[in-house]
Structure formats: structure tokens, C-alpha cells
Symmetry: C2
Subunit: 241 residues, 2 copies
Amino acid sequence: MATGRNHRPATRSRGIPEATVARLPLYLRALTALSERSVPTVSSEELAAAAGVNSAKLRKDFSYLGSYGTRGVGYDVEYLVYQISRELGLTQDWPVVIVGIGNLGAALANYGGFASRGFRVAALIDADPAMAGKPVAGIAVQHTDELETIISDNGVSIGVIATPAGAAQQVCDRLVAAGVTSILNFAPTVLSVPEGVDVRKVDLSIELQILAFHEQRKAGEESAAQGRKGPDGDMPAVMPA
Amino acid sequence: MATGRNHRPATRSRGIPEATVARLPLYLRALTALSERSVPTVSSEELAAAAGVNSAKLRKDFSYLGSYGTRGVGYDVEYLVYQISRELGLTQDWPVVIVGIGNLGAALANYGGFASRGFRVAALIDADPAMAGKPVAGIAVQHTDELETIISDNGVSIGVIATPAGAAQQVCDRLVAAGVTSILNFAPTVLSVPEGVDVRKVDLSIELQILAFHEQRKAGEESAAQGRKGPDGDMPAVMPA
DNA sequence: CCATCTTTGTGCACGCGTTCACAAAGACAT
DNA sequence: ATGTCTTTGTGAACGCGTGCACAAAGATGG
């Protein structure tokens, strides 16, 4: 029931397609690189190549934001950096908490890419009392007991879950109850959240499995020319009754 | 979500849609959990709930694999685990190398999810000579010089890049030249690869930016009811010349 | 001021993915 | 056997995303 507005008054549309939103950070990164090299303007063709997408797609994506280009010239790099940053909400500061400071959590805390764009690690939280107080990436780890206080005091709305799978849902529930409305989940579990809460998941194992599928397909196609031994060549013929 | 690019349009891939392939690991995980609890059969409704998807979608997905269900009963858990594993190519062993043993690389090496499903960390590779010989997750790190030999000797076809952005393309080129045809890229860069090589990227920063967009949208809609200026309320009106 | 050239912005068509809704298939009880 | 009940498998409709191809807009030069 959320989307009652399909109108696009041609001036500005709030209805930016999800696929476009997912590409904006890509454009932003390419534009930032150009900006650092003091390149003043860039054509859709050049920028598309740098971002690894089709130029028509890029132009259509930008058209959702508005007409920020100049025909015959291209796009002003600095201006576009600002517009995309604003659209993505990166002109404001986003305090983020990371829950679960194991190998992955620590790696995330140390990851420079967070701080670079409006994201600030407000706190590191772990359930292990032995971790409490220990500095990771220059920040003292706090115990899970403090979770609600931390969220509330810092006005955190984005949480990162890097706990084992077993603890993820419980942590998620507490984060949501404390006021977090966006969650980035690294635990290999399906999280259930109430309406209005966004969850994105990053699953290393799943990515590898998808690669394995294509890898097998490639290998199967090769040998399909000669002896039969393809991926579907042998039916196990064993159907457990 | 992670994006796999460069897929040819309608190559004979056994006709399984890309979107379906991406969900198979999800089903497999849910089924494995059921299997461990010795649940014999499961309905599409139950399994769909466990995997966090629509039941109609799940049935259609399975229909691409074949008719493995029994009407009126559901799906045999063990049988389905085997079928999906085989389809994904997980019944064979996939040696994997991880390049770039920094915080993230070390976390990946320690991640249990890899070994659990046919993936075996064949080697850890880093450019820092000081790292060479050091054990990470029980495996001695090897120097980049050995890269080609390692790939070749172990028959590695899947590589994981966890290096800084600056080194990623170079590492990628060497991996591909040595025979790797599937790459999982954690570096925040667009990799260019020759035809026939699959790349999937996992970008922490991009995921956060997408969350920030939705977060801003949520905040904007709330305050839009009152006199508050929306997220697009103020045009900067400053067009840098 | 006009002609030409470059590049944007977008209408349109197409294909993929999702969802609905239902007939077919089998289990089970009588 | 026969009927009822459950659940699968899928035809069809729909919506979203992509890419083509071109007209419009502006720069540039004469």
C-alpha cells in the first residue's frame, strides 16, 4: 500500500527504479575518481565505460534524477558528484553500528570504504565479555548489553550484522526494537523483519555457489562436443521412496 | 545485491534462468537445515517460508530442474538436496585461491561457509613478502610470485580477490592468464575480463549506500507530512561553470 | 545568422522475472 | 473403486529493466 503515487510531473520524480539506485554508487565512484584527476566534464560514453555499464542505460539512469547534462558536451563532474551524493543521502552523516566483532566484523571495522562516504562507525558490539574494552580499528568494543543504549544515544538507524548465523535473528530483533530501520546482514540466515525495515544481505557462500554453477556449465559445454559426461549426463536414478 | 555481469543472452545453459540459479543456494541452505533435523518431506509453502521467498516462485524454480515433487505430499528433502547440489556443481571439489590476505582476506580464509560446500581453500596469496610463510587459518601464505604455479598445479578455476582496489585489475589479469575463469571480487573496482570469464562482485560500500538511499527516503516521507522540506526540497541552484 | 557536429534525453519494443490461478496428479479414507 | 483432499506444476498476464535508435538541444565554426 506504500506506493500510491505513480505520477511523474516531469519535473522531478521520486520514483527512481531500484536497479538505478543500485548503480548510482557505481557512477559516484567513477565520478569521484575523475574529480580527483580534475577532469571537468565527462560524456555518457566515457563514464559508462568507467563504470562498466551501457551508455544508454547510464543516460536513462541520470534522466530519473533530472536533466543534469549539457547536450554536445556531457556532464559536469563536480555537479554530478554532488547531485548523486545528495540523492543517495551521502551529504549527511550516517552513524553505523557493527554487531559481531569476529574476523569479519573486525575486517569491516577496518574497512576504509565506510568512512569515506558519510558513514561513521559509531560503535562495535560483541556478545563476548572478553572482547569488551578491546580496541578494534581504534574503537573500543562494547558489550551487547549496551546495544539499546548505543543505538538510542547515537541515533543509529543503520546496523551491520556480522555475527554467527545462530545469533543473527536475535540481534536483528534487538536492533529493530531499538530503532534501527536498515540492516546489512553478513550472517548466512534469512532475517525476518517488520514492515518498513530494509534488509540487504551479503552472502559469501552463495556467491561462490553461483560461480560454481557457471563454472560447471562451462566445463560441461566444452566436453559436450566429445564424450558424453555433461552435467546432466548421468541421472542418479535413485529416488528415495 | 551482488551483481554478476557479462552473461550472454540465450546461451544453452540448460535453460535455467539466472534469477533461479541465484536462489538455489538459498533453498539448499534451508533444505540442509531440514535434513539435519531429519525432516523427510517439505511442502513448497513451508520451504518457501524458510527461504524467505514466494511459494509460487519456488515451485517454478524447481520446475526448471525437473519434476522432483510429489503432488499432495511435497518434496523429499534428501533427494532435493542432492539434486540442487548436483545442479550447482557442489558434488565436486572446487579448489579456490584467495589473493590479498589483509583483514578481509584473512576473514574469508577463516570463514567456515567456504569449506562446508565443496569449496576448498587451495592457497592464500599476498604481495607482501613479510606475509609469506605466515599461517592464516592454518594455511601458510604464499607470495604473489607463486600465483601462476599455484593455479596451474592445483587446477584452480575460481579466484577470490580481496586486495586493495589499486591492485585488483592486475591480480585479475594474472589469475585469468593462469587459467582462472570465475572471479569473486571484493575490491571496489570494476574489473574488465575477457569473454568467457565470470565476475561477481561484493561491494560493502555500495550496499551501505543503497541502504542510505532508502533510509533517507523513509525520513523524507515522514517529515513531508509537516512543513518540513523534503529530500528534494532545496535545489542548490549552483551550477558550477 | 546559418550550417554542421556532438551528445543528451527518451519513446518504443522486447525479453526476463514474478505472480496468479487452476487443472492435473497423487495420497488417503471409506 | 470412488470420492475427497492436498499440493504440485504451469499457462498466461503483467510489470520492470534494458537497449535501440532518433529527435531535440546546445556548442562550434564560418
